[in-house]
């Protein structure tokens, strides 16, 4: 067998292995998060698996327990399918009701136990028309 042929065969083997690995990885990675509806439709598929759920924080469902550093809220995408989430940790600055979040963790029965809480922000940028009145007061209102 010629050296060139060997190189071609070797190259093809390496290339196809890499391609197979990346396609497999890509299929998993491109689904960055599931929606509550998808998780509730097939609970058995998500049992004891670390997954991410992306949805909106249902307004009125947020309970922040500062003493235990525990944040509980419900997430939903369509205001029909809800998943209660419990997150042990500090409440992020950008966390608001009605905001998009991505939580990473596991389903435990009906409740999603989140290890990581990421806050999405919208692509809409806005300016408060009152901002010129008092910058100091405005900054204070942001940190609350």
């Amino acid at each position: 067998m010629k050296t060139r042929t060997k190189f071609v065969i070797g190259g093809l083997v390496i290339f196809s292995t890499l391609a197979a690995i990346s396609i497999q990885g890509l299929q998993e990675a491109t689904v960055f998060f599931y929606t509550p509806q998808e998780v509730l439709a097939a609970p058995a598929d998500f049992e004891n698996k670390t997954i991410r759920i992306g949805a909106l924080v249902q307004p009125g469902s947020v309970e922040w327990n500062a003493r235990q550093i525990q944040l509980a809220f419900k997430v939903t995408e369509d205001s029909k399918h809800f998943i209660p989430v419990v997150y042990q940790g500090v409440k992020p600055d950008m966390f608001r009701e009605g905001q998009g979040v991505v939580v990473e963790g596991k389903m435990q029965g009906e409740v999603f136990r989140a290890q990581q809480l990421l806050v999405k922000h919208s692509e809409d940028y806005t300016v408060d028309p009152e901002h010129q009145k008092s910058k100091e007061a405005y900054y204070q209102s942001l940190s609350q």
Partner: protein, 237 residues
Amino acid sequence: MPETPRYFRALEWGALLALLGCGLWVFLGTPVESSQGFVQKIMYLHVPSVITTYLAFFVVFVTSIAYLWKRDLKFDRIAKSSAEIGLVFCTMVLTTGMFWGKPTWGTYWVWDARLTTTLLLFLIFVGYFVLRMSVPDRDKEARLASVLGVIGVLDIPIIHKSVEWWRTLHQPSTLFKTEAGAAKPSMPPELLYPLFACMLAMALFYGYLLLMRYRVECGDDTIQEHIANHPPEGSRA
């Protein structure tokens, strides 16, 4: 190497003053964004860096094709210079993105489609320079780098569309948002105009860097040619 032309100095001062002016405008004359607060100011560095990265690699794309077509090293010198600057701006995109992500998302990094494809662009062009360094023959280097340059730039449309094609943590595009088919950036003019100014200033800075880098590249090739034609005494070359 000829003396520095006067318009170089003009471009240099123009770019520096434009960047300074934009900085002052952003921090002194631009209102604070409602939901993110002061941290949103990172956008004025992040987004112009993205646009400049796209611009720099677009120049790589065009000049690489031009080289493969005409086989004139002039085009390869522009491609190499622009790729190097593009890589610097791409690094800036990734770092400013991380500094922005931590206070807003709550993390420096996630492996979502937008961030991963951007890192891929960075790695492709790191590989581009490794490839250039590993080929001793100047014409062969130009040929191989041009091919990789053209393929590598194809990642940019994927980066741009990633937030639409896949579920990502990164929000969709603000500037290219459309409403009923018409372009409608989702940002009030008080925030939008300084952003456009920052983009222009950064593009001007890119133009200045490209001209300077291109001159260095021409000088470098002249020296290499001279060495090849006049081997030092006693050498085996």
